[in-house]
Symmetry: D4
Subunit: 250 residues, 8 copies
Amino acid sequence: MSVFLKNILYKIQNNEISIEDAVKEIDKMYYYNLEYAVLDTNRQFRKGFPEVVFCQGKQKDHILSILRKLIELSDNNILATRANSDIYKTVVQEIPDAEFNPIANTIIIRKRKPMGIGNILVISAGTADLPVAEEAAVTAEIMGNNVSKLYDMGVAGLHRLLAQSKKLLEANVIIAVAGMDGALPSVVAGLVSNPVIAVPTSIGYGANFSGLSALLTMLNSCSPGIGVVNIDNGFGAGYLASTINHLATS
Amino acid sequence: MSVFLKNILYKIQNNEISIEDAVKEIDKMYYYNLEYAVLDTNRQFRKGFPEVVFCQGKQKDHILSILRKLIELSDNNILATRANSDIYKTVVQEIPDAEFNPIANTIIIRKRKPMGIGNILVISAGTADLPVAEEAAVTAEIMGNNVSKLYDMGVAGLHRLLAQSKKLLEANVIIAVAGMDGALPSVVAGLVSNPVIAVPTSIGYGANFSGLSALLTMLNSCSPGIGVVNIDNGFGAGYLASTINHLATS
Amino acid sequence: MSVFLKNILYKIQNNEISIEDAVKEIDKMYYYNLEYAVLDTNRQFRKGFPEVVFCQGKQKDHILSILRKLIELSDNNILATRANSDIYKTVVQEIPDAEFNPIANTIIIRKRKPMGIGNILVISAGTADLPVAEEAAVTAEIMGNNVSKLYDMGVAGLHRLLAQSKKLLEANVIIAVAGMDGALPSVVAGLVSNPVIAVPTSIGYGANFSGLSALLTMLNSCSPGIGVVNIDNGFGAGYLASTINHLATS
Amino acid sequence: MSVFLKNILYKIQNNEISIEDAVKEIDKMYYYNLEYAVLDTNRQFRKGFPEVVFCQGKQKDHILSILRKLIELSDNNILATRANSDIYKTVVQEIPDAEFNPIANTIIIRKRKPMGIGNILVISAGTADLPVAEEAAVTAEIMGNNVSKLYDMGVAGLHRLLAQSKKLLEANVIIAVAGMDGALPSVVAGLVSNPVIAVPTSIGYGANFSGLSALLTMLNSCSPGIGVVNIDNGFGAGYLASTINHLATS
Amino acid sequence: MSVFLKNILYKIQNNEISIEDAVKEIDKMYYYNLEYAVLDTNRQFRKGFPEVVFCQGKQKDHILSILRKLIELSDNNILATRANSDIYKTVVQEIPDAEFNPIANTIIIRKRKPMGIGNILVISAGTADLPVAEEAAVTAEIMGNNVSKLYDMGVAGLHRLLAQSKKLLEANVIIAVAGMDGALPSVVAGLVSNPVIAVPTSIGYGANFSGLSALLTMLNSCSPGIGVVNIDNGFGAGYLASTINHLATS
Amino acid sequence: MSVFLKNILYKIQNNEISIEDAVKEIDKMYYYNLEYAVLDTNRQFRKGFPEVVFCQGKQKDHILSILRKLIELSDNNILATRANSDIYKTVVQEIPDAEFNPIANTIIIRKRKPMGIGNILVISAGTADLPVAEEAAVTAEIMGNNVSKLYDMGVAGLHRLLAQSKKLLEANVIIAVAGMDGALPSVVAGLVSNPVIAVPTSIGYGANFSGLSALLTMLNSCSPGIGVVNIDNGFGAGYLASTINHLATS
Amino acid sequence: MSVFLKNILYKIQNNEISIEDAVKEIDKMYYYNLEYAVLDTNRQFRKGFPEVVFCQGKQKDHILSILRKLIELSDNNILATRANSDIYKTVVQEIPDAEFNPIANTIIIRKRKPMGIGNILVISAGTADLPVAEEAAVTAEIMGNNVSKLYDMGVAGLHRLLAQSKKLLEANVIIAVAGMDGALPSVVAGLVSNPVIAVPTSIGYGANFSGLSALLTMLNSCSPGIGVVNIDNGFGAGYLASTINHLATS
Amino acid sequence: MSVFLKNILYKIQNNEISIEDAVKEIDKMYYYNLEYAVLDTNRQFRKGFPEVVFCQGKQKDHILSILRKLIELSDNNILATRANSDIYKTVVQEIPDAEFNPIANTIIIRKRKPMGIGNILVISAGTADLPVAEEAAVTAEIMGNNVSKLYDMGVAGLHRLLAQSKKLLEANVIIAVAGMDGALPSVVAGLVSNPVIAVPTSIGYGANFSGLSALLTMLNSCSPGIGVVNIDNGFGAGYLASTINHLATS
């Protein structure tokens, strides 16, 4: 944000812009009204990271315009979630720096060098949980955190998890992703003293009721120290982990 | 049942009973019609154990009459579940042999010497799950099985469970009782090759929705080899374990 | 597993492998880390049957690699569930022994001669329940059990079931599969003394709520001796039946 | 109703009442406005039976006044459901003919001789279903039907039911009452050609979810010819059975 | 059924069949075992109408074989529900008499002349409820009942319904079909004394939860005399109405 | 509010209060911080009516203090909902003007003369819905509206409602209160052009699921022009009706 | 409607029509019976706006015929909701004046000049809520109201909403549309004194359960003055807002 | 824990204890087996805080024994939740240092001086949420954190919250407690960059479904940076906040 502001102030100093126009420009740092969306351009200031674009249910041209405006008004990295290869094709034609992760279904535009502070561990119960786990990992990484991963660590074969105790203990925050019985976060939180973020996934069938089983398991965990996010909400977990990890390393 | 039948046949032999009356008596081995209940007196023959009395919602005098008739018509042990001390007081006045378990809320009348075959292990996640775990244990024991117990083995402190691996491996059947996150059966079934019966309990609050959380967890377990019974259904688990254990030892 | 281990030990004896490399190989018997999955290669040892591949939501090349590695590291039969003809085409090109069951949607690779111990009976209420019933049958068969079948035995025409009493009484374990009202297991368990595994299916419409009606019926059965598995979980039923049947015949 | 009307017309003939007052009285045959309730006095005419008083949640003095007014304005029997002994004490002091059924929780006032037409059979799965079954039986009987009863006929001991086939086949309508798995109506409707009214009860615990399990089973029955009423709604079943039985015998 | 039986008996008389073969043929009147289905050929005898084929989830060749066998073994009309034009094409090639109703999605084969007894009225709340209403009408008609129809009679424009009072009062049974608020059966049952069968449909969106709203409304109707069937179960309503109408006219 | 403000300004004019103290007093018009509650004293200004006290779950002394402070800081009427006679006894000792309505469970303190603008009609389906209907009526009346009432107008006896058409058409807003099938608002909204506020109640049993049935019915009404409030929320309905009626008469 | 009636009366005056035919024509003002639908042609008279066509689940030719008949019989604007471009193509060929809104999925035919009375504000939480918000806006506009809009005003960036306070305060009615957490109506209703109509949308995923989360939030709002409509029911909100706005400006 | 260990080691040094007995004592640092409970005495080591006693459903003498043993084996503070004054009376007789908080229903025994690190803010929406908010505050305080509180900050009067922006921004972690619409955490998380822990409460009635409404709102928040705990789980929120705050200040 500061880059954007400094540029305006320099222009005033150099008489390249009138005071009236400068005020209009600075107003954009509050919110920016597109026809179909009102960008919360102030969010970087309040929350430390610019508005993230939730692509699901948005038109491709709208996504493109929003991304462009965010790039213009922010000097931080940009993240779009729930994208697909079709959206990406439209975006990359105009924003060649945009990167697509086909498992996480994310688009990112890097405007800052990777900081890589602290240590967030993403752990998943099964291979089918990968899209959610990767969304969490991409989110945390683009927000400037070191991210390590341990996948397919379900409690049906507990020795796989116990063999990784060291990695569990080293993490500032652990994001535990699981569908079906959703038991992984309970076991993980029983082993560590740092916060655990539990992400239920919709993986499974029948009485998993699209993730309800894992969600309820996690909300009722007998291990304390767990915060739960929405079903399949890898983004929310990565974001929350980042706020905690930044606190821990500041 | 055979005792009841033999007595009638002896009476015929000794001319103590007419053929007509003998037929009436033998008919009682099929079903016996009280005014308010039709005893399935044939159940011992079909299922290997006489009808079990579910006390909840029945009047005390009805329970007493049913127990008396079962004692008369069966030579196996008798079990009544979901009783209370009030019901027991009524019962024990007329049936002095009746024993009450105030945690399991069961009444039993022993007509056979303990057989103690095989090995059923009842394991519970928390102290509050005791009534359900004890109902399972009493049921399995009265049906002629050896029963051992491990209580308060929740996955929040996994080392307590792992320290008991030997007992887990020795059991023919394991009954795993848990409320809240209901994660215990998944972990147990990951460690053993014998069948695990999972019993969800209503212990917990809020989004446990009176046991729904534990029930769904168990139905969606990522560990194979688990059969689930109704919430708080210790009796059903003990009964099913007994059928399996009897198969295993026959 | 022993075949794999013996081969390594022979190689050491014959100086065909260094101690360091032998240790690495033996480590594979604990777990084996692919990039996207961590095979629980120890499961055959703990549970008596190797890890089963749940194909739903996995990429075809991942399924193929996992199957190959399981074949390499195990000397038991291999089972993959929730496959389809598309996956099978990819698999069979590289693993010509793979067999596909298009009703059960299973892929199997036989490494052991059929043992055919004991007697598991799979019984279904309707013709539409076939895919679930067949998944149960394939699972039990590949795990070394004798399996017999009775389909379309719904309680709307009870005489069809009663005519098969002999088969019901001969089975060590009965797997009763039903959708809609899910009443079949209650009736079956009322007739036999051996354990019954109830499998609710999602067959039906409207207030069946994708199998919830059958699931609740089975959990609340008035006949004791029933263990319930997840909706449409033929695999889980076949697996549990196998653990019980193996106990019964050992 | 006709008695009430005739009395007014006689009074006009005898000049005991003015035309204005007679109109006011006849208006009462349409509806009658008490302060807290508007009696549908026209219901006897439209539906063939006067309004039934649902006592739950009503004040005792209101119930009494409503009953008195119904007695005054109707020449048919009067029924109040969901009453209790406390309400009855208040009622019987002023209406000595009132009869209380402490199992069905009904109050009746007989104004017609029992007609006893046709044949309605009430059948219940368990002893605990009695209050609902009795409410159905009392309702059908007071509406002028012959009612016979078979209690404790649950499918766990199917021979009890099959032994009563003759009674099942003789009934014009069968009311099948069941809690827990609610499987009884499916089995009954498979045996007869006449209509079956299924009444789920809230009997059970855990995943019966206060009668939901039995309700869903009955709605999803694989046997055709079943109509379902609300959980614990014995009154509704008795009423519907009466409309059918009256049709059958008219 | 009698036609089938008589033919066999004639053959015996004429020595066209051995006693052994005759027994085998007569056995088919009990049940007939196809590979994938066990036809309840006894149902015509018990229930007065042969087994109805539920096409959903069945293979086309199976449906065809079942229909052929039913035609062979029954002398009553044949009904298949939840069919489609694709299934019909397969069927009609071999069974040219088969008729398809593209709104009701039914296939019928007429073997008896229309009896047209009594009077069943099918009434629907909206135009979108037509497929369910038509399934009810076709079912009732093929079972030998007179059927009349009133569609688009929703309570938002009550005068449309009140204008048809005469038709409501003339019917032996009314089938009231409604989605969304499901209020129609309550209003209809308030106007008539004969039984009303309520059919909730899944028509609507949002908090109709695929028909749950209409189902609950109908189960909780404040008008007595209503029996409810499953969501979208036009067949079940038509069948139940037929059993009642046959009673009324016998 | 203005009375409170004027008093302070007069005191300044008369030098009865320092500027510092006046500021502190005026601050109370924004919000007022009690230890256990923060009164939104600004609400009268924003919403036109002061904060309403929801008594459920609050301690009696807290309720008393809150009421006193509201009386001090507001010149409008004061309303407390979900009270009981016990709370009222505590309140009336210190606030003798407080009035209790034992059906609506409301406490009111009148500080303004009744305005009685416009015309709000409260209509209920049954006698048992009275507490909710009365809460709506009391709320609307204390907020300055004319309120008329029609109780026990359920759709089972439609003629009772149709006889009141004139009253329905005269109302600016109709509050329609119903439990069980909740069909009343659909029928009412089909007859009038003004807005209808639908209030589901928890009256009923079984599959009414504590008011869910009526709630879903009302949300899915086929009649347009309906706004729904929470189950049993008479207060919310009265408040919303008041905002509409005030608009209509301003 | 009056135009239609006047034309008939003129024809009588001019002897262009017989009295018999005139009566038939005037009868159409009550209801009009198409084969598949019964148009409530009286609705304009009772409700002030003609029947609105709900296209979902209707055949294209039926929709076309219904629209034509409504155009013939009404002199008000015509609205069809839940249409699509395919339906529109069929309609516009025969009704060239028909206009399609591809976001709101509405078809309108204008027969009156825009009145534009009062002031209804439609406010949405996110860009993805647009289809529902637009359906509300189109409905309110075609019913003769001034409509203004504020989109993407979610509570995550509250300053966007607070910056629009003036617009909030100027509206007679506010329609607040939100998915996910559904918090917007609570915040809006806390700021204004006029009625707020809350529209939950199905936007979101996981534990939003297709709009249930937003629906429950809105029903439980801590701000009074809110009426809720069905999930995604923009039409219902626009209609209700219109009835209120018309009251306010009459 | 170290105090306990040191004492044993000193005793060995001083020959006050045999090696065998010392091993037994040190074993208690792993887990300690009471008859009815297995204390996870190792938890202080793994999680940084000893096991917390959940009193609900436990017998008073069991709670007392568990507390005594925890006091003996730990040198950290001790916490018991979901207690009541009755339990406290039993406890305080033997443990005079025990302190009871009658709003939070907690018992604490302080063994360490308050550390008061960092800054956790507990904020509640309403006065009725106090018990849950206080449970969170007590938990965080006893675990060594500075805790500040802001109660009755519901979004219906947003200015109360905005006036406290400074306190919001100063907190390392915010615990936001709300029932009914549960909107508070969404608004709070929109204003700050640090993590927010959302606690839904069961406060409300009707369609709040015992806290489900608030739970779903919080899981679907449009503001990122939120972790959710179980309904009414103040303890879980306080514990999670403590782990985050300790990370932030370490």
